[in-house]
């Protein structure tokens, strides 16, 4: 659900805000956070920008590249397990 783009074109602005707030409230709730309404609203204002940033990176063609943080089978490699 968190990756689902908000459909802005088919909703009125107030409804779009409501929809974003709903998404944010669900995501915070799934993470176990109980957040006051005013702060949910603040996070909802930030959320579209956060998604634009993430979606911009998702659109880059990086092929089969593995993440920068690479997994090692030996948990003691380079230090304590």
């Amino acid at each position: 659900m968190s990756g689902r783009p908000v459909n802005r074109s088919s909703t009125k602005p107030a409804e779009a805000v409501d929809e974003v707030e709903t998404v944010v409230r669900v995501l915070l709730g799934q993470a176990g956070l109980t957040v006051p309404d005013e702060e949910v609203a603040r996070l909802a204002r930030l959320y579209p920008g956060l998604r634009r940033s993430a979606d911009r990176l998702a659109a880059l063609p990086v092929g089969d590249e593995v993440p920068a943080a690479v997994f090692h089978a030996d948990p003691t490699e380079g230090g304590r397990p």
């Binding site: 176990g32 956070l33 957040v35 880059l60 990086v62 920068a68 230090g79």
Partner: protein
């Protein structure tokens, strides 16, 4: 006003017998007594232990035992790094007091072993993220050049403490710019080492794969002296790399001759830097070229993505660490902190994996582009503007776009901020020097060479009292 102490000049005076570590510590403690309430530098001071350590340092020097450039040098430690004296709060009501009971983090232990005198724990932003929160019972770190302005963060107290003459150097941490930005805003030098060069055990994590512990001091020479002691692998830290740490003072006099320097020319930097910053950068380029470097514009591949990715990933990594306590103690966190951390809950797993895939592609692309252009180093402003007021700042001056630091947390490469002048409000501005991975010595040498041609790093703020 007499020239300020540097680690270099204090070391020379200690060995010449014109001062003692005890006299130095007492003098700086008197300065702290006078300025701390105005500047918000300290969360805890270890006055008695510092005087005892200074007395031991003097006795050792008198007996012919010299531990090197940090012997008898008074330092501050950002209060997210554990020390024997304790406590560690991370400037938060949330951190379990037991966390700080682990004693010296490896990097603090190394400084102490080198004879440094630990003066106390310096202010930060809560858990090194967010903004100062006046509703919590902690000092607000202020810029000594104008106490109505914020000292920058998150290594705020180490930054304003060095600038105001309360310490000669110290430790900061840098996840998106938190060593380099307060260095720039306070008019001092600060170095984010290559990721893996300095162990982070004993430091409260923020962005686990973006965090760096780095030295802050007046000069690049001083930072090199600190880094030489701090660097090197540690058996308890899986992020450190097995390679010789290096003596960064041995190469500090390399100079600028023959270096080819790329001036970061991406729109993101130019558009989010004020006219005074651009003028200071132009002057810095003239100085570097006067020293024998050749400067040329350089478009950093994936620069925006590296910058944006750092913020996304550090929020996700930080949220992973804080999730349980954030759920249990939401209001005990400061509002700016909890709202920043909670954004990590809004980023999904695939988002984070993609950030890390782009991070890898981008790092390779930047190296290849530097190779193709024959570049040794890059430079940019550290930030687009000087220190911001606590309230009423113009939005463009406090936008994350005006922070020209986080891309280099994504690459993990070394980046140094040195003072390069002042804006129209006489607030310091920083020049950022960026190197290839593990080229910390070259970065520091370039900063040192620049500071041989300029004196911005020796300028002192007015006394706020």
């Amino acid at each position: 006003m007499s020239a300020p102490w540097t680690i270099q000049s204090a070391g020379a005076a200690l060995r010449a017998g014109t001062t003692t570590a005890v006299a130095l510590v007492e003098s700086l403690q008197a300065t702290a007594d006078r300025l701390d309430h105005s500047l918000g530098t300290w969360l805890a001071r270890f006055d008695d232990q510092a005087q005892a350590a200074a007395a031991r340092a003097d006795a050792e020097l008198a007996a012919g035992t010299d531990r090197g450039p940090l012997h008898g040098i008074p330092l501050g430690i950002k209060d997210i790094i554990a020390t024997d004296e304790g406590p560690t709060t991370a400037q938060s009501l949330v951190l379990d007091p037991a966390w700080g009971a682990q004693g010296d983090g490896p990097v603090v232990g190394r400084l102490r072993q080198a004879g440094a005198v630990i003066m106390g724990k310096t202010t930060t932003m809560e858990f090194a993220i967010g903004r100062p929160d006046p509703s919590k019972p902690f000092p607000l770190p202020r810029c000594p050049w104008n106490p109505d302005r914020w000292a920058g963060g998150s290594s705020s107290g180490t930054g304003n403490g060095v600038a105001s003459g309360q310490i000669l150097g110290g430790l900061g941490t840098d996840t998106g710019g938190s060593v380099r930005l307060p260095a720039a805003y306070n008019g001092i030098s600060g170095h984010k080492p290559t990721f893996g060069l300095v162990p982070k055990t004993g430091c409260v994590p923020l962005g686990l794969s973006y965090d760096h512990i780095g030295p802050m001091a007046r000069s690049a020479w001083d930072c090199a002296a600190l880094l030489t002691v701090m660097a090197g692998p540690h058996p308890h830290d899986r992020t450190t790399v097995e390679r010789p740490a290096g003596d960064f003072l041995a190469t500090i006099d390399r100079g600028l001759d023959g270096l080819v320097v790329g001036v970061v020319a991406n729109d993101r930097v130019a558009e989010a830097s004020g006219p005074a910053t651009q003028a200071a950068l132009a002057q810095a380029i003239t100085e570097l070229e006067g020293g024998g470097a050749r400067c040329q514009p350089f478009e950093v591949p994936y620069y925006d993505e590296l910058s944006v990715g750092a913020f996304l990933a550090l929020q996700a990594e930080a949220f992973a660490w804080h999730r349980t306590t954030l759920a249990q103690r939401w209001t005990d966190y400061g509002r700016p902190t909890r709202l920043t951390l909670a954004q990590g809950a809004l980023i999904n797993a695939a988002d984070l994996v993609q950030v890390e895939r782009v991070r890898q592609v981008a790092r390779v692309a930047v190296i290849e582009a530097m190779d193709a252009a024959g570049l040794d180093l890059l430079i940019s402003p550290t930030a687009g503007y000087g220190a911001a007021p606590f309230t009423g700042a113009a939005s463009e001056t406090i936008s994350t776009r005006a922070l020209h630091t986080p891309a280099w947390n994504s690459t993990g490469w070394p980046a140094l901020s040195v003072p390069m002048g002042f804006d129209h409000d006489h607030l310091p501005l920083g020049l950022q020097v960026i190197g290839r991975p593990f080229a910390d010595g070259l970065v520091l040498a370039a900063g040192h060479a620049y500071q041989q041609r300029t004196s911005w790093h020796l300028d002192q703020p007015p006394d706020p009292t």
